[in-house]
Symmetry: C2
Subunit: 268 residues, 2 copies
């Protein structure tokens, strides 16, 4: 079901950095994105519209709003038996769940993940525990007799990282992927770098990328494998990604890695 | 397809106000909500998962992220032919669109609307104009040859206003409903009332509701027909809704209506 890209690459621009630089896989990006969210849109199959004529086929797609928590790599829902989506799932377990981030001002520049599979009730204590750890306020109604926990068993994963960055993610890769340990800290790290270390980032760009004249540099993202910057050039802002010497798991390790890179650049 | 409420009413509490007070209809609430949004979740029918076995039925629900604008009462989309949802719609036009507001901290307390119908390409100049007025940045790519405008012809409307407030909205009522003219101003009005006019609101509650001891009052919402407050009582916070003498269409008219109500209360 891979169908290519929705937007063309601007192939006339030579990248300013090595595109083989260590980068989170789409499975890891999807897993990181969904870890940050607790609301999503659930797609189910409704048994036909109430305006249906006799010739109306069954199974209209129906989208509703839900809260969710991941247990390992499957979403867990807590839904009322009276809700439309629950009645739909009782008739047909096929479902999908869309989680979208809201970071960039341009909504289509943000990442989103659609998880497809079958959604069925679960009595697993682990599912309940995962949900209530993430959404503790639900403890107030999770024992109401018309509320049940449901598990979406993920079979297929569509990741869209923004304009032109998208793929169907392998299900085994999805199950193996871990969320980025820096994700909860990335806004703070980016802000700190842009406040206090612009000169150091410009040095890194001049030394380790093709942006040999870099002076105005802004960090735009950081993850366990490296960091991304926007460099002002004569042709406008251009992206540069550089890798940490090795993957990091804490903000302090990221800081040490950045210090080591700057020392390396200064020594050249 | 009306199936009752997802959460029970707490019927042991006598309301502090006349429940027949003028209130926006669910059609009007849904129309107001969707007017404020420009991103949504689109439900389409995918032709089966890539992990499908021979016995896998076709038509898996697929949810994706889109931007949209309303033209009169139908959503207009601008989508790439290469996108999954577009390819799904080319095979089967049945679709639904969920728009959800993000006002309250408790995500399930927020309103959301699902519009169901058939989604087909449109060459209507009015559709293009409505979309580009709402999303002017799309002018940059709307003429790319693989992008087309699509119209979701709304046939059925599901409105959920928060806990326990939900209904299927009549399609004719949906088409007739207009968005609340105060909606773009309501946050500012509510903030102003809570900053400067708590005593006046307490007087209104004591005079025109059963909250005869009201002292601590907070405005929670305002619309063309009236306003809602939360009153601190011995049994905890309780809602009170009061109507304007007649529907208002501007913040200034709302202010005048509030002044008149307070003068009326003082004169009693």
């Amino acid at each position: 079901m891979s169908r290519g890209h929705a937007t063309p690459r601007r192939s006339d621009e030579e990248p300013l950095y090595d595109l083989d630089v260590a980068t989170p896989s789409h499975a890891e990006q999807a897993r990181t994105l969904i870890e940050q969210e607790q609301t999503a849109s659930l797609g189910t199959l409704a048994p036909g519209l109430d305006t249906a004529k006799d010739d109306e086929p069954a199974s209209h797609p129906y989208v509703s709003f839900v809260t969710f928590a991941l247990e390992t790599s499957d979403p867990i829902l807590l839904v009322s038996e009276m809700a439309e989506h629950t009645q739909n799932l009782r008739l047909d377990p096929r479902a999908s769940l869309l989680a979208a981030e809201r970071r960039a001002a341009d909504p289509l520049a943000n990442g989103r993940v659609t998880l497809l599979g079958s959604c069925r009730p679960t009595d697993d204590e682990s599912a309940r525990a995962a949900y209530l750890e993430r959404l503790p306020n639900a403890a107030y109604y999770c024992d109401f007799k018309d509320f049940n926990f449901w598990r979406l068993r993920v079979e297929s994963i569509r990741f869209i990282g923004g304009y032109g960055r998208m793929s169907w993610v392998d299900a085994a890769a999805w199950r193996a992927a871990t969320p980025d340990p820096l994700a909860p800290h990335r806004e703070r790290i980016v802000e700190h770098m842009n406040d206090d270390h612009v000169d150091a980032m410009a040095l890194l760009c001049r030394t380790f990328s093709k942006a040999h004249d870099a002076e105005q540099v802004t960090m735009t993202a950081v993850d366990r494998y490296g960091f991304e910057m926007s460099v002002v050039t004569e042709r406008g802002p251009r992206p540069v990604r550089l890798a940490f010497p090795e993957a990091v798991t804490t903000p302090d390790a990221a800081r040490q890695a950045l210090v080591a890179l700057v020392a390396d650049a200064r020594a050249r």
